[in-house]
Each structure stands twice: as structure tokens, then as C-alpha cells.
Symmetry: D2
Subunit: 344 residues, 4 copies
């Protein structure tokens, strides 16, 4: 059975998902597309040789009879609307981050999904599908380092063109917020944000780096250095300090060189080189599980937790204090299945 997919938003990432589903993945077919820029939708259909109908707007895509599932890759502020409509139509929906632009918006989606009675929403946090994070989770889940006590992370970009305000939290750190909960199978209770000496490379009044501290229900303490103008490369680090040992996120596989008086491996500069493979895995698993009527990726609830936590971090950054992260109880509805690692 082929999953017939409608895509709302054919900008950079929408187009890329269409390309990978069409050329690289199995089991899915793009049958409907739309974009606020009608020309963009037309171009994608013709350039990628899609056998897809072009719709006026997202709601028509969602309603189309031959569309089994929806991918929302439109402008962020429209996500909530289309996800809610997909739920109303009872169709599975994959929504790129953010699930909604506010925590309240995410909560409305959670409530609608719970009311609907069946899990339909997956949020596009792709790190859970990254091979290196899965290797780390496997080691951790096997108990190779015992119970986690402390986690040290770093999220470093070489430069951050266009970054301003709190984007180091709302655009970058949100990935850690999602993946660490999944990795540790735990939830956050408080956060604190420390502002180190600023790099001279930070522009537009940006604070850079940040040191963000999270406390979990189990008492695990996580420190993350978010440094978006680190100059030297795109570098994601994660180290779990457990009761009996320590496990580090693997470095990407690279040729070991001896040249110019250095023994070296490469560090990526572009985040795409680091995570591009995980998009393939993410969408393939979404197609496969959707066909089976399952939902295994980051849920609407996960998207909501990220939004609440991100808000708390922004508040903590500005207040300088320790901010509680308060969530309603997780609906039992979300209990099963969200924390799987699939490594062949």
C-alpha cells in the first residue's frame, strides 16, 4: 500500500521532503501540493516530475479524498491551523517545527488530538532519527553507564546569520530540549540560563554563547553550551555521565588524516552534512508507521513540552533566575510508543 501524501508549503524544506519521498524513500507518493506562492507549487510539481494535483490552499489539500496523510511545511504561524484541520479530518499529519508558535497553540493541538481519540500528529524533530543519537540511546538504555546523573551538551554553529533576540533558544536549543527528554526518558522541572562573556563575533546585539541548565524529574542535571558563532564548525556534543561510566555522542565518521603537522578528522561546517541523513530516516519511518496505523515519532505532546520549556528558558534568560517548568499531567493517551529506538 502506498501512502498518498499532500504537502502544504513547497518552500525549501517542503520541496526537500517532496524530493526525498519521491526519489529516495519507499511507500509514499506525493499526490497533492499547495503553497501561498502558487508558482512555487507549480515549479516543484514540474521540476520533480510529480503526478500531483496543485490545490488553492491547505484546507483543500487536507480535504482531498485521495490524500491519506498531510505534511505541513508552510510558514510557522500557519502550522497550528493546518494541524488542527488535519486532526478534524482524521488524517495523520507530519508538521515541521514549530508545532505552533505558542505553547497555548500546541496545547490546543494536544487537546484536539486527545478529543479526537487517536494519535495523528508527528512533529519534525529529526535528531531522534539521527544514527549517532540512536547509538547513544542504545548504549544508555542497555545500562552501559548506569543511571544518568549529569549530562553535558554543546550545540555549536560556525556562524548565525540572521539570528537575533532569543533565537539561540527558540531555534537552536529546542532540538536539545526535545532529544534529551527522549534520550533520558525523563521530563524537565526547572531551568536556568547563564550568560557568559560574549564573543566578539556576535552581531546585532546577540548574546553568544549561552549556558543553559536543565533539571529533570529524576534529578539529572543537564548543562548545554549553545554557541552559535563558534567559528570552527557545526558541532553537536552530548555526554551522559552515569553511575558507572560515561557515554559520548559519536563523532561523525571521517577520514583520519596526517598532514601539515596535524593528526586530524574533519568537523562539519554545514548542519546539513551532520543531519541530512536523519531526515530520510524520519520521513521513511513516518511513512512506514503511518501505513501501519502507528505513530512513533515526536508527538503533539512532545511539541507542546518543547514549547513550554523553550518559553521557560527565555524567561530564565531574561530574569537571571531559576524558572520552574510546569506542565499539566501527560494524558495517558500519549503513554505508549513514543520512546522507541529503531536501529537495524
Amino acid at each position: 500500500m502506498t501512502l498518498r501524501i499532500g504537502v502544504i508549503g513547497t518552500g525549501a524544506i517542503g520541496r526537500d521532503h517532496i524530493r526525498r519521498i519521491t526519489n529516495d524513500l519507499t511507500g509514499g507518493e506525493i499526490v497533492a501540493v499547495t503553497d501561498v506562492n502558487a508558482e512555487s507549487a507549480k515549479n516543484v510539481v514540474s521540476e520533480l516530475h510529480l503526478n500531483a494535483k496543485i490545490y488553492e490552499n491547505g484546507h483543500d489539500v487536507i480535504k482531498a479524498d485521495d490524500v491519506d496523510a498531510i505534511i505541513v511545511t508552510s510558514w510557522g504561524p500557519t502550522h497550528e491551523e493546518f494541524v488542527l484541520a488535519s486532526i478534524a479530518a482524521g488524517k495523520p499529519v507530519f508538521c515541521e517545527k514549530p508545532l505552533a508558535t505558542t505553547a497555548e497553540g500546541c496545547k490546543r493541538i494536544v487537546d484536539a488530538e486527545v478529543a479526537h481519540g487517536k494519535q495523528l500528529v508527528q512533529v519534525g524533530f529529526m535528531r531522534r532519527f539521527d544514527k549517532s543519537y540512536r547509538q547513544l540511546k542504545k548504549i544508555f538504555d542497555e545500562g552501559k553507564v548506569g543511571e544518568a546523573l549529569v549530562v553535558h551538551c554543546a550545540h555549536r554553529n560556525p556562524t548565525a546569520p540572521g539570528f537575533s533576540g532569543d533565537m539561540a533558544i527558540t531555534d537552536s536549543f529546542v532540538h536539545e530540549i526535545d532529544v534529551l527528554r527522549w534520550l533520558l526518558d525523563d521530563d524537565y522541572v526547572s531551568c536556568q540560563v547563564i550568560l557568559p562573556r560574549n564573543t566578539r563575533f556576535a552581531e546585532n546585539g546577540l548574546q553568544d554563547p549561552h549556558m543553559i541548565l536543565l533539571e529533570t524529574k529524576k534529578g539529572i542535571r543537564i548543562d548545554t553550551e549553545v554557541f552559535v558563532n563558534c567559528k570552527y564548525g557545526y558541532d553537536i556534543q552530548c555526554q551522559i555521565v552515569g553511575e558507572t561510566g560515561i557515554a559520548n555522542l559519536p563523532e561523525p565518521q571521517s577520514v583520519l588524516m596526517r598532514s601539515e603537522a596535524k593528526l586530524s578528522t574533519e568537523i562539519y561546517v554545514d548542519w546539513k552534512d551532520r543531519f541530512i541523513d536523519s531526515y530520510d530516516v524520519e520521513l521513511q519511518e513516518w511513512i512506514d508507521s503511518t501505513v501501519k496505523g502507528e505513530m512513533n515519532g515526536p508527538s503533539a505532546w512532545d511539541g507542546y513540552v518543547v514549547a513550554v520549556t523553550s518559553d521557560a528558558c527565555v524567561e530564565a534568560k531574561h530574569s537571571g533566575g531559576i524558572v520552574a517548568i510546569e506542565l499539566p499531567e501527560r494524558p495517558a493517551f500519549y503513554d505508549q510508543g513514543n520512546n522507541k529506538v529503531l536501529i537495524k
Copy 2:
């Protein structure tokens, strides 16, 4: 367009190729199968839910009108026969190693293919499709270490159940024979085999390890330690020493651990963990290029060169001397396309 594939031989590897083409890859469909053991073919069809016809024998598969391309995964001594029949039928054929059990057999295939006038045969040397070898080749092709002068290799298996006689050469080292020509874009002119002190873990009178020396046309010297009872793991090493630097085959990506007074990464024990991904790439690229009417993988000529080189190494092992590796000139027919690296 979907490539309709007939598979001759549904043993372990045949079945595995069928599974990956059916479940994991795109663009190919298994429409015909056969096996000397009719029950095996029947089981594969039913267990993998294939929509495939079961044939009496390989020749019927090859002749079937709805079969576009053939995969030969039958018993080694039958390979030559089915590959020749595929050529006679003008159908692309992917043949697992060995292409034929003798160099003469390989030569007959080369001659038939040249006479046919179009390249149809790909041999199943999967290392050319391995990500780490491609990373190494990319660095080398970009001139990052200058011209190659010396290459140090190691091919180590933890144990070698069932190994006897010259299998360390004919079963293991053949992979280096193929991949190093491709990596260096060079050909061999002589070989020598040195027999070190035997490990106490070698059984059945097996010599283990071997040190095999190859000389190329360009004068590059390659030493390979083939050690099939090394106990500690499955470990493939390749180091290119160039005029300005050295490049090493990447170690597989692995969690860095601090535990039990060791800073460590994992070494695989099973060869499948090391090379399983390359089978997916190999077959996907075979399907894709076949659909486009191209042939990019190891050719019949490559299979022939491996056979001649392997024979020379066996002779050198027994004589203790330096043995010339003599080949007829490569037909111009094989000039284009066999040496590509495809890394996204």
C-alpha cells in the same frame, strides 16, 4: 519505471537481496525467482509476500519476457553459465562474487560481453559502495595526500570457521584486490606472499596471518595483513601514504565510552555490522543505473582482474617468490564509468 528483476538462487544472500529490494530500496521489483531447492524459492516468495513467479531453473528466469534484469546468487560454480546466458539474452545481470570460479571463466564472460557490444555485467564487490571507502577515495581523488606511494591494509576477522587452504586469499583478500584498484585507479603488476609465524588459534592446518604484497603499474606498493583469526574483532584498515600526507579509512562511527578504566569505542565482531549498509547502496545504485541504461559498478573486467590476481597470489603463497600478474590489454569497451564515487 520499475526494474523487473529475476533472482537465480534464493539462499542466504539471494534472499537478503530480495528482501532489501522489496522492502528497503526503490525502483526494483522481484518478479521471478528460482532455486535448485524448489522449496527455498517457494518459501521466499511466501514469506516476503512477493508477487513473483517461481521458475524451474535459471535459464527460464533469464528468458522470461517480463524480466528486465537478473541477479545471480546461486552456487558459485553455476555463476558463469547464468551470466553468459544473461549476456546472450541481452539482459543486465548482477552476479555475486565470484564472477566465475576460474580466471578463464571470467575471461569467457568478458569476451562474450565485448562481443555483445554493450556492458551488462556487474560483480558483487560491495566495498566500492561502502561509505567509509568512498570518503577515503574522495579525499584521495581531491589530492589531499598527493600521489599515493605506499598503502598499508589489514583485513581481520575474529575467527574463520570453515576456512581452509587458500581461502584467506580467495575469500577474504579478493575484496582488497577489487577495492584497491578502484581506490587508486591503478593495476597490479606483481605480488608476493609472506607467511608470518602462525597464530595458535589457526585450525585445520590453516596459515594465519598472511602478509600480501602487491606492486602496481605506477609503482605503488601495497602491504596487506590478512588475519582471519585475530580474535579481537572484524577490522578492516586501509591507509594511503601519499607524497604530502596520509589518509586512513574511517573507523565506524561509535559511542566513545569511559568505563572500567578504559576510554574506548566499539570494534565490530560481525562483518555484517561493518558492511551491511553497503549492500543497500550497491543494489540501489545497480537498479538506478540499470534503469538509466548505465553500468557503474565493478564490471566483468574487474571480476576477471580479481580472478587473475587472486590466482597469482595463491601461486606466490606456495612458491614463496614474486609472481608477475599478467593481463591482456583492457578492452577500450571498459574505459568509461567504472571508477566513479557517488557520495551525496
Copy 3:
């Protein structure tokens, strides 16, 4: 010229210093010893074949005409008394940590030394003499990573027999307090102590691990995980995150092994294996500089800063808040010479 040294305290570390000065180092000779346990002093003299006079007490050692310089390795609570007496006698004195058991005691020493008008006191913080810290400082001082913004540290012991109360700070973390000021050429302004989930291996009600945050005058933020029951080894980490790159404290030099499905190097279990060489360097440089009339190691002021900072960390641990680290202005007296790196 040979420096004639009197040693007050012939317990484990005193005896060890005597042995190294006598057998391994140059330019110093032990001419006087004393211990509260007279038998201990006698044994050291006879077992190490010293040509040294045994005195009744530390004050007699300090007063002895043929004693040029003093080493204080007696019980901690007696340090202040003997260091003050050495200053009163105008004799250079090397005092093992702590300089005094209270910050006030340290301050009295600083005041006495300033009043005396010549720097005489060196405190036994040996990390400044460790080869790996000096390699890191050299790279940092050469500007290889630009200005420091964040520093990540870890201080891990496999087990902590006898640890209780705040010893993770007062016995372990004091080393970081000293060495990081020296490394960064900066001073602390505040601290915070976070208490992660406790390891099940912590005994006697010990909190373990701690995460200790320091802020410097320049705004550098330092996080240190102090984990004294980490089980896996004795492991000291330090990573300077600068504006253009990152430098890590070198791992100790170790044989790279391939065995039992692991690629590994050794992690020390005993702190002595990690730092024993730095004692040799420390004492040799103390002898050499003392003979030249200089004083290059950690000063009385440094000892005082460690005491004040350690007190603030203990307070921060118990209060849970951010505690200011307040110091009087550093006497100009201490301006020169305390921050040198000597690598041959």
C-alpha cells in the same frame, strides 16, 4: 650552590618529597627533619640514608643556621604556625596545601609576607607543574582559541574512601580553583553549586556528584563536575571554549589497544599515576627558583584566594544560591612572576 632544606613533617608526603629531593632532583639537600612522631623522622633519615639532623620540633628546624629553606608537610592545622615562623625567620618556605585551615589564617600569612617585604611562600598546588596543563596553557596563551568564554571541567575519582561533608570541594575542587585562575589569568567573582541526582555509590550521606559554577572578572563561565565516586577511573578534564576554537587538556599518553572488540586507551585509576611527575617538576622548580632568589609557583596570595573561594563554594552548596567571592585588592607585591609557564 646546594639549597639546604629542613622538612617539618615526615608523613607520607613529607617522606616522598624528601626521597625525590634526595634521589631524583638536583640542587637540594635535606639537612634537617622533624616530626611529631620522632620515630617517623628517625626512620626516614635512616631508610633514605640522609645526612640530616633530627630536631625536636618545627621551630628548631626553622631556626637552624644551616637550613636555607623550609618544607612544611606536617598536619594541616599546624601549617599556618610554621609558615609564619618561616617568614619571621626570613626563610623561603614550601607549604603543602592547605596554606592554612581558614581563609583568615591564609590572610595572616599574606599580611606577614607583605610586611616582611619579600615573597617567601610557595603553596603546594602541583597542577600548575603538570605537563598537560602547561601544554594547554601554552596553546591558550598563544591565542590559538582566542579569548576564553566558557570552560568545562571535570574532576573524577573512582572512589572516595573517607570522604564526607564538603570534602569534594575542600579537598578535590580546590585544585581546579587554583589551576583555573592560573590558566586563565583571571579571578573569580561568584559561584553557584548545583546538586545533581546522587550516585548510589556515594557513602556516608555524601552528595556526589556536584556541579560547581564559577564566574570570573572577565565574564568567563566555568562549570566543573566534581564526581568522586565515578567508578571508572581517575579522570581530570578541562576544555577551554574560546572565540575561535576549543582546546582540551591532553589525555595522558597511552598505548592504543585493539582487543576484545574495543579500540581503547587506558584511563588511570590512581591519581598518583596522573600527577606524580608534576611533584618532581614542582619541587625542582622550587629549588631552582629559590636558589636564584625568585618565587614562581603558587604564592601565599594564591593560597588565600583558594581558601576564600572554597569557603564561598561551600556556602553556595548549602544555600543553593549564587554567592559573591569577595577579596581585598591584591597587594601589588604579588604582581610579578606568578603566572609563568615553563615548558622546555
Copy 4:
């Protein structure tokens, strides 16, 4: 007791040994020096503030009553003469390599020493005193990799100014010849030299690199790449492949950097940075053992074996064949004590 040492030859290395014995080591004093260039000897005495007598020639140094032991650091062709004279005088002698310029010359020294009846000669092969080789030997001797089967080595210099003819063997590879016998506790029976494609950076008609194969009595096979214009650094590699695992010579301790899209450690460019510490250890142990009347370093016999093996390698290089390495039986005289590892 202080060892009173006379030094014959105050050129670069002689002067350096004098400096280290005078300033850095314990237990030895330079009391006599000479050089064919009288001015050189005079300068060394005055610049290093030695309390040493300047002699007309080496024989006067050897005969001097107040000289307990001799260091021969004169021009290579004079070594044999001064070593023989030292033996005749019954005085311990440390001779820089070569022991003599011919194997016959070395043999004459061995014969003289055996006739004298007491071991007096140590040859200046410093790698046995290098910390990293001792770490490797310790692991090997403890059986951590089982019996050695194959050893892979590399000896690489960035450039080789002044190298010509067979100096890659006679000046560089001799270090491997000595240290590998010691490491493996084995002897050589044959050698072969393979000439790879030449680097374009080789000058003066130099062959570069060489691949040199050694076979030992136990059947261990050693391959060494000697590459003296490798450009990228001074790099010494040694990997013991044993029955159960593999042990590599440690890389020198170095700061791990993240900068400019590379994760890197430093490779030395100057051999002195790599081995300078081992000279200190070598001479300190020579002084200590000489004072005790022992002889633990490379013996005259070891120097003779190196000369015979080096000659065989040169012959093998020119003949292209496998050359037997034939030695008389080792005099029982040399049985004890030459193979110790001393790591604190």
C-alpha cells in the same frame, strides 16, 4: 658517589650530553673533555661553567686518573678506537651510534669486551629509554596481545636534508633495528627491501620511501616504511599484532583542538621534540647503573647486531632479493640484563 665522566667530542651531541649531565641529571660530573677542535672544548667548558680539565686527545681523557667513565661523542670513524681504548683501560664507556663504522669494527669491540671479562660498553640507542616504547613493551611483556606475529612500523621525517645513498637505512632505520629486537626479545634471520614509487620531494637521487621487511627467529614478520621526506611531520609508528590483540606505540601527549573545521592533535615536526626526553633517561640510567657496576642499556653486542643487520638491509636494497642475516652465537657473557624495562 658521583661518577666522574670524561667526554671525547664536544660537537652538538657531546655538548648536549654535557649540559644535561651538568644541569639536569644527578650523580654525574664532567671532569674531562677533549675535541679535535680545541676551541670547541674550551667553549663548552667556559659556557657551561664546567669544572673540567681540557685534554689534548681522547686517549688522555681515557687514561686520566680522575675519570671514572667515558662518553664518546666524537666523529663516527673514531668511535671504535676510543671504545677499544676505554675497554683496555677497564673503564665504562657510553658511545653514541655508530659503535663502529663497520660490522667488523663492532665485532672487534665485542671480542675485546669479552676478553676483558666485564661488560663496559653501552651504545647510544635512545629509543629503549623513550617512555612510549616502554609503555608498549610493558603491555606486550604482560601478554596483553599474546605472542607477536606481525609488526607494522613507520619511520617518517618531514624532510631529509643532506640524506643520500643508503642513509635511510644506515641513519634512520638502525633505530628500528635496535629497538624492535629489544621490544620483541627476538633476533633477525633475514631481510628484504622493497622500493616503492619515489616521492617527487626526494632529492639527490635518493630512493624514498623504502619498505623494509625483517623476519625474526620466532617467525615474526616486521614491515617498516621508512619515509624521510614525508612532509607532514616527524612520525614514528609501531604496531604489534599479537594472537589476541594489537598494541600501538602511543601518540605523543597533545592538546586536542577543535578549530578551523578540524578536530586535531599536533604531530611533531622536529625529531628532538619527540625523543629529547629519552636522552635524559638514557644518560641518567647509564650513570646510575654504572655507579652500581651494572650495565643495562644497549650493549656492544647490540651495536654489532645493528651493524650486521644494517649491512644486510643495504645489500637487500641493492640486490632486490631476500638476504640472510647471519651472526655468530651470542657470547653467554651478554645473556643477562640487557632487556629490562624500567618504568616507575
